[in-house]
Amino acid sequence: MRISEHPILDFDRGREIEFEFDGKRLVGFEGETIAAALHAAEVRVLRRSIKLDRPRGFFCAIGRCSSCLMTVDDVPNVMTCVTPLRAGMKVETQSGKGTIAPEGARLATGDAASEAIPSAVPLAIVGAGPAGLSAAIYAGRLGVESVVIDENDVPGGQLIKQTHMFFGSLDHYARVRGIDIGERLVQDLESCPARLLTGTTVLGLYDDGDAKALSLLKDGQHARLRARAVILATGASENVLAFENCDLPGVYGAGAVQTLMNVYGVAPGERVLMVGAGNIGLIVSYQLLQAGVRVEAVIDAMDEIGGYHVHAAKIRRMGVPILTSHTILRADGETRVESATIARVDERWAPVPGSERTLDVDTVCLAVGLTPNCELALMAGADGVYVAELGGHVARHDRDLETNVPGVFIAGDASGIEEASTAMLEGRLAGLAAAERLVPDADANALASLRQEAEDGLGELRAGPFGERPRFGKNRMFDLVNDTKDERRGS
């Protein structure tokens, strides 16, 4: 179902185009993904699982989870949640592993020749979200040329889905909506010696003599980019939650719900159960209400609301109950969610018998945390360190956001789960540190003051009870790095 009226967003849909789904003619819009067009056409089952033949829809909608693989133009295993819809495409529900495409079959792509990819650059930045864009802007202030690469067609990362106004004491961006921050960053980038490569996937990060080589994929063509320093601002993936039928189409990550409704103007469903009362759960619930979708309840296993109370108050005022000490037991439905059963949990997290309730919902939205995307850093040789407060395994890094691989930096959610404001500041710091490395005669005073400003900003954002977790996690990471440095010095 397409959203026609929205208090904040105008959906600037592209040309209407026809495509084929399992032999039927369907209509979508240019500029949207295959999965979004199918969802708008009420198609929920995109594939059947390999082993148990279970119906599967998408879960993450950002090309991370592989739940949305379909056969497109005879090519199997196409990630339809990130693949742009093109006129005349033949889209098929995929059963099992998929059959190898006939010789010559090729997925329709954009025109690769339209944009030449440079072969070398001083600084390559992977990810055009808040961290990556900030890194390019601040490295650019010191004259460093960079290429910012993002697999999505639109830069801004997750900011392009954030319709709410930001908090924080950051004078620049407080009271500005996420979508507008993203646009401002892209504008700021225009005055920098930076190139933006969208629709481009980084496949790998390799040693290349005294530099690094990135292998890129754009419009079905491979390219190689050599860079003396690399900043990884690759963001995070959404966590899943294990419960009965948690793989039913209609169980979506909160980011996927945001993508659907705020980017493509497609309502995820009519009645939603939100699982998780942290900031993301609360904010997305409010966004659902804005889009005209009913939120039946927000539940959280914790005995108190994890997010800002101002967000909680807003949705409560609109009649949404927030049930703490509650968990989801199961989702039910044949090929899509038709209801969900929740229950109260005791102090040991065990469901209380007799407290089960079945809610009439068609969508279960999971806002149960994120995991850093640190694969490229690990591939480059960074040590993976498990820090629960940062969201799981993260690449070992120091206060300059440099990993244990010299010249490879990591910033934003990829270096530990926080939020967009801290991601921007971390991006600045990483950009400055990379610039210091690349421009030996950089203005030391300017560098020091910019760095101090970013560090002070991070300190402020991480102060107070809501910053406790990342503050603790980051300090654990830095202590670890100092320990190893001491060890190295000692031996």
């Binding site: 998929g98 495409a101 010789e103 790998g204 390799y206």
Partner: protein, 381 residues
């Protein structure tokens, strides 16, 4: 962790765990396997999992035939699925030298009872692999009984079976030093303490080199990086492992549906480098797309590297070294350890227990390198 054992095996790869299993099966259960990381974390878990019987020397072919026999009964014996599949090996000839050598090989192999046939290019596509591009292919040899298995599951199966018999397996326990006294091994020093043992088996792949050195033993092995990649899974569309020595490639479709394969870069310098290279990804992709054009649309999901522990004759080093009593070697497998693991491990276990191995392994003893002439098998990828 034990502080004393009858036997210590260093290395939790397929060789180490299999030796421990066969020792325990024969009654030597007071055995500890020491692994510096997780099971199959070294060369075993990084290999392609092929099991080939088509070799160019009699000794190797016999050993390989015996290994396939051992593999065939392994799932039942170890009570675990190891994805053993006799999908065959197709060996492609491109040059005059290839053709000449392959004809000799086939005569030798048939003489040893191996069911191997020669195929023309059109027979390859009509009978064995329909999608193969046979441009430049002169002929191929095909043995339908050649096989493959999952190296992780095989190692895990040996480890679990060994544990059931009383073997202790200590993971994340690197060995720092081999302890010796008066020309005999007395045990090992690990990161978690010392274990005394009159017998130590060095099955640590390339890491066997520095380990042996701590006991004053110099092994003629050099580590070489070998790279490999794997694609997304697809419904099965070919069965055999396809290899060519002159084109430089091996690839197969594993049970789960992915295509896995690699090649050895002849210019790779020796060293303990286990990083992946962009050069390999590019070259291997081109080779695959050339040999099987339909693979062009298939996505590669992962690449990695492992170490071949290569000896001067590309043959393993098996047996008790002359310099240090009780210190046995089972290393230097030169890239084909997995495929002969079951039989070799049985033979090493017999040797360790003082029995006469039921297949000659004297030819693989470390002392063969002291002066004498060595024979090189030409069927090495």
């Amino acid at each position: 962790m034990k502080t004393r054992a009858e036997c210590v095996v260093i290395g939790g790869g397929v060789i180490g765990t299999a030796i421990a299993y066969y020792l325990a099966r024969a009654g030597l259960t007071d055995c500890v396997v020491l692994e510096s990381s997780y099971l199959a974390s070294g060369a075993t878990g990084r290999c392609g999992g092929g099991i080939r019987q088509q070799w160019s020397t009699e000794a190797n072919t016999k050993l390989a035939i015996e290994s396939v026999k051992a593999f065939r009964g392994l799932e039942e014996e170890l009570e675990r699925d190891i994805e053993f599949l006799q999908g065959g090996y197709l060996v492609l000839a491109y040059t005059d030298d290839d053709v000449e050598q392959f004809e000799k090989n086939v005569t030798l192999q048939r003489g040893l009872g191996l069911d191997v046939e020669t195929l023309s290019p059109s027979e390859i596509t009509s009978r064995v692999v329909p999608h193969l591009n046979t441009d430049g292919v002169r002929m191929a040899t095909y043995c339908a009984d050649d096989a493959s298995a999952n190296p992780f599951l095989t190692t895990q199966a040996y480890a679990d079976a060994a544990r059931r018999l009383g073997v202790e397996i200590e993971l994340f326990t690197p060995v720092r030093r081999i302890l010796t006294e008066g020309g005999r091994v007395t045990g090992v020093e690990t990161s978690r303490g010392t274990i005394s043992a009159p017998i130590v088996v060095n099955a640590a792949g390339s890491h066997s080199i520095p380990l042996a050195r701590t006991a004053g033993v110099e092994l003629p092995i050099a580590p070489y990086r070998r790279e490999i990649l794997v694609t997304e899974p697809l419904e099965r569309f070919f069965h055999p492992m396809i290899i060519s020595f002159s084109f430089g490639i091996y690839f197969r479709q594993v049970k789960h549906g992915a295509v896995i394969g690699g090649f050895g870069d002849p210019d790779e310098p020796p060293g303990f480098n286990e990083t992946s290279s962009l050069g390999f990804l590019t070259t291997m992709s081109r080779k695959l797309a050339h040999l099987m054009p339909r693979l062009r649309s298939v996505k590669i999901v992962r690449q990695w590297a492992g170490l071949y522990d290569i000896t001067p004759d590309a043959q393993p080093i098996l047996g008790e070294v002359d310099e240090v009593g009780g210190f046995f070697q089972a290393n230097g497998f030169s890239g084909h350890g997995f495929m002969i693991a079951p039989k070799v491990a049985m033979l090493v276990a017999q040797d360790v227990r003082g029995e006469t191995p039921d297949l000659d392994i004297e030819r693989l003893h470390p002392r063969r390198f002291a002066g004498g002439k060595i024979t090189q098998d030409r069927s090495v990828v």
